[in-house]
């Protein structure tokens, strides 16, 4: 009688899979990596999940800025629309290309060609720096028109949104720099696939985020 009562409660315990990484975190793996294949799907999954969750937080940050912008633009009659500097479209193109170069790095990673990874990561980081330089030129173009941070709320949001995105992209650049440093000795880097996959995911998100911000700046005037 007791057994029947509890059976529904307790079955099928040992096989039920409540775990994510547990299965893919087997003995001897990810421990500095002296043996066995490096690629650890569970670790990759965990790092990518971390980025996805982080994306949620970043989305809320920019959603708050967006709603502030929408509300502020409708509140009073001091909102002065302006044309975004043309260089933003160049920087957009640069950023889009950088996502493809980073995919190149990922492909070299799958092929375990670590010097290839390094090369493509270098290229991506360089494009990232070019993007940031373009953004600075955009600021310069705007201030040359006499439109500074405090000139008008429309300008304020332009500077805040581009700076916010730029800072997040700088985080992405730092992670690429970390990859670049560590991948010189790939055999001593147990989390390399996970970090590269996570950095790539974050970088692509920076693309999407930027296109959203550009759309907002162009269309919500």
């Amino acid at each position: 009688m007791t057994t029947t009562l509890t059976q529904t409660e307790t079955r099928p315990a040992p096989t039920a899979n409540g775990s994510g990484a547990f299965n893919g975190h087997p003995p001897g793996n990810g421990d500095g990596g002296r043996r066995g294949p490096f690629s650890n799907p569970a670790l990759i999954q965990r790092y990518k999940l971390g980025v996805w969750v982080g994306v949620g937080g970043i989305v809320m940050f920019f959603a708050a800025l967006t709603s502030a912008m929408v509300v502020r633009s409708g509140l009073s009659n001091d909102w002065q629309p302006f044309d975004v500097p043309w260089i933003l479209f160049l920087s957009t193109a640069v950023l889009l290309v950088s996502s493809f170069t980073l995919e190149g790095a990922r492909r070299r990673m799958i092929a375990a060609d670590w010097s290839g990874v390094r090369l493509w990561v270098n290229g991506t980081a360089a494009l990232g720096l070019v993007f940031l330089a373009c953004q600075l030129l955009g600021w310069q173009a705007l201030s040359a028109r006499g439109l500074f941070l405090a000139s008008n709320p429309a300008n304020s949001f332009y500077y805040v949104l581009t700076a916010g995105h730029g800072l997040h992209l700088l985080g992405g650049l730092l992670s690429l720099g970390y990859v670049w440093l560590r991948v010189r000795a790939p055999q001593r880097w147990a989390t390399r696939e996970a970090v590269i996959e996570a950095a790539a995911l974050y970088w692509h998100f920076m693309d999407v985020l930027w296109i959203y911000i550009l759309g907002l700046l162009v269309f919500w005037r």
Partner: protein, 605 residues
């Protein structure tokens, strides 16, 4: 490395790799990546902050009943805010602001989640650590930086900010206003750092819960503590980014001449302020979009601990486990759509107010489910009245008392009258402040033997419980009445205003101040008990002294480095299998196979 003996309670486990123990004092205790050390760091930070915050509340109460009395030591500490020891009204507002900020951010947000969550979430799910240990360390130290900035605000020129813990502009946004100098800037920067720390921590908690659970530990077998930490982390992830955005804009309004929140045509201290078109209401929307979920960030972990402890000490399964999980989730979701009820007096459209009001009432449903289930859990149980159990029952009492006044305040028409009165002070202190703190007391008393391998003094704990329980009702009960009079909140002084002297109002303020002194004194009992027991408490050598069911009780006290020593226990049942019919004992741990629970016959072999 010494082998970690898993308790015989663990029926089966899988070997995984082990992490080497850190060497040296700094790696072990200061910049530690061990979730247990970080948990204790958070707890200690919250403990310090709680006593600072409590001291500030004492100053607030003293100023209210003795506005002209000189407190000599204050004159030495704050020559500007309290010349000759007499507190100025500005000083009162500054103390009020700092009390609220320190308590809400540094105590209510850090201890339940950063403290207990960090320490016990990984253990309860059978993990060796958080998903990202270094990120965890970064979260704590960013929180520490944030706390330092906040404390620094006391000592800069112009003194601590006085715009309230809600930092409403234009007062918070205009440096020209009196006592709104660098202190207010430090406040905003501190909050920004706190947001970043909390976002990183939330990320870590979510990934850990989703990704590191032991084999067999399905979501519906998680302890309710883990559920509340998990949902709290989701709330933090979605809420703190919004506050961060608002904080950045506020800082720019203050220092860079932008006009996000500062309206045009503003005159402060006979000076025209050079801003135009900003909206203070915009800040209120952004702030409360964070601020309401923040209430649940503070109280949800307390709810989890309460559910956990009521079951453990009533020796019964949690009544309606699934309903509890759904109620936690519902509270989390609804928490994001009710922020407008903090703004009924902001001139919002009555239609919006109606919507926010209805949604606010909806939160009553999951809250009532939880309360009902707590009582259902206690009903007919073989209750063990230990001190952690008393705190948990106290939590239920305070949650009901504080929650009921929320139903009044959720009505726009009633809120118009009550909003700026002591009724609101009574409401949010009971439910958010004191109830959440009782959850922390319960957690400390319950987990102390596990964390430190020693017992806290049970007798002292009970005395502390009764003093605090009676004390807080004595403080906040009469405030409901004062609110109805209505005594306005945030006022530095009531004496000399005729209509505020009606009836016994003046005496009630005295009574509240005396009750506050009594309650604050009682907290030193707790502090004494806590500190003394760490070093000289009765040793607790058992792994499972409370006869509890979850995983932290299957490892030695205090837990070894790596928790399970490179082994991951398998999980066979839900978290609250107490008093199973036919079982050998009145509880079955999550890692017990049926054979261990019922003897070999019932196990099917």
């Amino acid at each position: 490395m010494t082998e970690v003996e898993l308790s015989p309670e663990v029926s089966e486990y899988t070997e995984v790799h082990r992490h080497p123990e850190p060497k040296g004092f700094i790696a072990k205790w200061i910049f530690s990546v061990d979730h247990k050390v970080i948990g204790i760091q958070y707890l200690l930070l919250a403990l310090v902050a709680a006593f600072v915050g409590m001291g500030l509340s004492l100053l607030v109460r003293l100023r209210l009943v003795w506005p002209e009395r000189s407190f000599g030591i204050l004159g030495d500490l704050f020559p500007v805010g309290a010349p000759d020891g007499v507190m100025t009204p500005e000083f009162y507002l500054a103390m009020l602001t700092m009390h609220g900020t320190i308590m809400v951010f540094m105590v209510l947000t850090t201890a339940p989640q950063g403290g207990f969550g960090n320490y016990f979430l990984p253990i309860q799910i059978g993990a060796a650590d958080m998903a990202f240990p270094r990120l965890n360390m970064l979260s704590f130290w960013t929180t520490f930086v944030s706390f330092s900035f906040l404390i620094a605000a006391f000592f800069v020129e112009g003194g601590a900010p006085m715009a309230g813990w809600t930092g409403y502009p234009p007062l918070s946004a205009v440096p020209e206003a009196a006592v709104q100098g660098i202190g207010q800037d430090l406040w905003v920067v501190s909050i920004a750092f706190f947001c970043i720390a909390s976002l990183l921590a939330a990320l870590n908690f979510i990934v850990t819960t989703l990704d590191l659970r032991a084999k067999g530990l399905t979501m519906m077998r998680l302890p309710l503590t883990v559920w509340t930490w998990f949902v709290t982390a989701i709330l933090g992830l979605l809420a703190f980014g919004v506050l961060l955005a608002a904080g950045v804009l506020l800082l720019m309004d203050r220092n860079m001449g932008t006009s996000f929140f500062v309206p045009g045509g503003l005159v402060v201290s006979d000076k025209a302020i050079d801003h135009s078109g900003g909206s203070p209401i915009l800040w209120q929307h952004l702030f409360w979009f964070f601020g309401h979920p923040e209430v649940y960030i503070a109280i949800l972990p307390g709810m989890g601990v309460t559910s956990h402890l009521l079951a453990t000490f009533a020796r019964k399964q949690v009544y309606g486990y699934k309903a509890m999980v759904y109620a936690i989730a519902a509270i989390g979701i609804l928490g994001f759509v009710v922020w407008g009820h903090h703004m009924f007096v902001s001139g919002m459209s009555p239609y919006s107010a109606f919507v926010f009001s209805v949604l606010t009432m909806c939160i009553g449903v999951p809250s009532a489910i939880k309360t009902f289930n707590w009582i259902g859990t206690l009903w007919g149980g073989q209750i063990r009245f230990t001190s952690p159990m008393l705190y948990s029952i106290g939590f239920v009492s305070l949650f009901v008392s504080g929650g009921l006044s929320g139903i009044f305040l959720g009505q726009p028409t009633i809120d118009l009258y009550f909003h700026d009165t002591y009724f609101v002070v009574a409401h949010f202190h009971l439910i958010m402040g004191v109830a959440a703190i009782f959850g922390m007391f319960a957690g400390v008393a319950f987990w102390f033997p596990k964390m430190f391998g020693r017992w806290m003094d049970e007798g002292l704990g009970k005395i502390h419980f009764w003093c605090t329980f009676i004390g807080v009702y004595a403080i906040f009960g009469p405030m409901h009445y004062l609110g109805m009079l209505p005594h306005p909140r945030r006022y530095a002084e009531f004496t000399g205003v005729d209509y505020l002297q009606t009836g016994s109002a003046g005496e009630l303020h005295y009574f509240i101040t005396i009750a506050a002194m009594f309650t604050i004194t009682a907290q030193f009992l707790f502090l004494f008990n806590f500190v003394k027991s760490i070093f000289a408490g009765k040793p607790c050598t058992e792994a499972n002294p409370w006869e509890a069911t979850t995983l932290e009780w299957a490892i030695p006290s205090p837990p070894p480095h790596d928790n399970f020593g490179g082994k991951v226990p398998h999980i066979y049942r839900g978290s609250y299998d107490f008093s199973l019919p036919g079982a050998k004992r009145d509880f079955a741990m999550q890692c017990n196979k049926d054979e261990a629970v019922y003897g070999s016959a019932a196990g099917g072999d």
